[in-house]
Amino acid sequence: GIQVEQSPPDLILQEGANSTLRCNFSDSVNNLQWFHQNPWGQLINLFYIPSGTKQNGRLSATTVATERYSLLYISSSQTTDSGVYFCAVHTGTASKLTFGTGTRLQVTL
């Protein structure tokens, strides 16, 4: 099956700093989504982005499908950005997503 690798596995930032999280995948995909899991375990969908660039406030994402990677940018990080960020992909029609193992982000004061 498709392999999804995320880097870095762990990241510690001071509040106000910017960061880039990367997601590499091993095959062509027709769906890519980014999620944030907060420290209480809640999973929030951030972006559906199979290709191109999207922005939502301080977050933006870019997927280069032909090169099989996606990037999640967090600008002016806040403590509420802490948690784990997952990317997930699928190649079929039923949204059977395959998840990466995540990037754990800690934002400190």
Binding site: G41, L43, P50, A88, A94, S95
Partner: protein, 112 residues
């Protein structure tokens, strides 16, 4: 809010007992999913449903069964719970362009 409710939210059970987790949605979505989350593995798909009585296996389906007799409810059953099934279980639905996934709040299951 995708209108997803999971129950129970927390459960401790003994090895060998049957356990059923319920996922209820209020928005009539066709696709529903059960995932489990474990340290070092991220989220892995157990089973999914694409309609009433239409279900299929995911990548970690052994030891689990599912049923969907109504659009709004998707049940996950552990016929005989084992310690390896101690996990956090998430139900999800997909909707909108790109079948965007939305998760419930999770069910913490401990098998002792």
């Amino acid at each position: 809010d995708a209108g997803i409710t999971q129950s129970p939210r927390h459960k401790v059970t003994e090895t060998g007992t049957p356990v059923t987790l319920r996922c209820h949605q209020t928005e009539n979505h066709r696709y529903m999913y059960w995932y489990r989350q474990d340290p070092g593995h991220g989220l892995r798909l157990i089973h999914y449903s694409y309609g009433v009585k239409d279900t299929d296996k995911g990548e970690v389906s052994d030891g689990y069964s599912v049923s969907r007799s109504k659009t709004e409810d998707f049940l996950l059953t552990l016929e005989s719970a084992t310690s390896s099934q101690t996990s956090v279980y998430f139900c999800a639905i997909s909707r909108g362009s790109g079948n965007t996934i939305y998760f419930g709040e999770g069910s913490w299951l401990t098998v002792v």
